[in-house]
Symmetry: C2
Subunit: 303 residues, 2 copies
């Protein structure tokens, strides 16, 4: 039985198109409506048969029992304002943004009485973007963090049911804690990946082709993260500024200590830090989070 007779998805990128595919495949909805401000993306969504593609956001949400905002987080406030007058009483309004406090602050003022706004964030993705990049198994065995703004409600249970049907592992988390945890597990790692790739590109002493040619030694792993959507990530860093700067400050201090150990030949200090880092990896494997991003398999060669 479907959780939501009609689901509306605003923003048809990697995540939005994956929700459309997964929701229908899982029978979690009867009907999916979609809207994207980019007419080319709408045309592509139609060609892919992702659902009923509307030409305005208002048309997409009018009959929806649940509306999911799946655009870059910086655009969510304006989107909420635009659709607010057209939301069905009793509807759920949710999102998939990687930052939750800024989204909650931007969206909340526009939420009409009788509409249930529940911020949420599925920890899933690949470095690909656009409606062609989505696939229905994207959320399978991935965490879905719901960061409610008040006590649990039947609407929240329905949203959790929906994501569970899509294969996700649903957790509830304090909204500010979410932003700090994600700063360390996702935002700062991406920032560092973007940064090292840009540093490499700037190096005049090492031609770019050499960096690319010999990238298998570790650099390649960073380029994957750094291939993620630039607009999405710009918005994430602007929206989660305080937590990102806090973690970045600690990272920079720690890096300065490593740099000093290298300069002064302090092998013991290096070895101690490297040994601790290795232990964390073991925990990641034990926690079952060491699964390659699905696209690794797709892009892979003969190996």
């Amino acid at each position: 039985m479907s959780v939501f007779p009609t689901l509306a998805i605003l923003g048809v990128g990697l995540i939005g198109s994956s929700i459309a595919r997964a929701a229908r495949e899982a029978g979690a909805v009867d009907r999916v409506t979609l809207y994207d401000p980019n007419p080319d993306v709408r045309a592509r969504a139609r060609a892919l048969g992702l659902g009923d593609v509307a030409d305005t956001a208002a048309d997409a949400v009018r009959d929806a029992d649940c509306v999911i905002l799946a655009m870059p987080v910086g655009a969510m406030g304006a989107a909420a304002q635009e659709i607010a007058p057209h939301l069905k009483p009793g509807a759920i309004l949710s999102d998939v943004g990687s930052v939750k406090r800024a989204v909650a602050d931007a969206v909340s003022p526009h939420v009409p009485a009788g509409v249930h706004f529940i911020p949420a964030h599925p920890i899933a993705g690949t470095e690909q973007s656009g409606p062609d990049a989505g696939f229905s198994s994207l959320f399978r065995n991935r965490w879905m963090l719901i960061t409610p703004l008040g006590p649990a409600t039947p609407a929240q249970s329905a949203l959790a049911d929906f994501w569970t049907k899509l294969g996700a592992l649903v957790d509830v988390m304090d909204i500010d804690r979410h932003d700090l945890v994600l700063a360390i597990t996702s935002h700062v790692p991406h920032l560092i990946a973007f940064n090292i790739v840009a540093t490499a590109e700037d190096l005049e002493a090492v031609t770019e082709s050499e960096v690319v040619k010999y990238s298998a030694g570790g650099f390649r792993d960073f380029t994957r993260l750094a291939a993620s959507d630039p607009i999405m990530w710009r918005d994430v860093f602007l929206a989660n500024r305080d937590a990102v700067l806090e973690i970045l400050g600690r990272f920079t201090e720690d890096l300065a200590a490593l740099q000093r150990a290298i300069r002064w030949g302090d092998g013991e200090a290096l070895h101690a830090i490297f040994t601790r880092a290795r232990r964390v990896r073991r925990e990641v494997i034990e926690a079952g989070q060491d699964i390659a991003a699905p696209n690794f398999g797709r892009n892979a060669g003969a190996e």
Copy 2:
């Protein structure tokens, strides 16, 4: 036909054991002798049937036409000194260290007249270590950089033939350039991965289990690099100090600029940097270097 009737491998870890497996499978040698200073590793090498395991380095190299040093780079000078009196005239002495200048400086003084010392570095590996972690396809389609200390010789051609038989793509590179290129493509990426994992572990505000649990958002990719052998990497950073500090200095400057852009809400600067980084990724894919490390496939779940 074999390239070397007898090949000696000193140091039976991931790389050494992979060479033993690959060389015999490819028919590049008739016989492999091995030595490791750790008696447990020698016992394991015997149990795995990797070749003729000797109880001293001298015994392992005595009849060898080619000797490959496959221990951490900091131990190579002493190993060369130990085996020097026992090397066969005309033999090739090579290595697989990730740093080349420091190895060349440490090994060269011990090389007897009539022995051909040719430093080399296969850009291949996984985050696993030890003799059980090796596998024969590790070098297939990976770059093998030979960094000779003089003009090309027949001995160098033979070494290139050997690695080609193992499936590697052989290139010749200036020895100092190697150390700079590898600093950016491998050494600094690993250092940063070790560092961010250590930073995460130190964070009292975010319990370690949360970092591990939600690691799929990007952090996981860093833990893989940070799981690499601590002793091997300690030696790499001590041995390639100047190039690593040079690249690290640039990385830190660039990161400070990103940090400033976040603090002041400069979305345009962020977007410009992220867009450039994405382009480099495309080049990595086009160069065919976007192949997952083999262990990704092995550890992967159902995806």
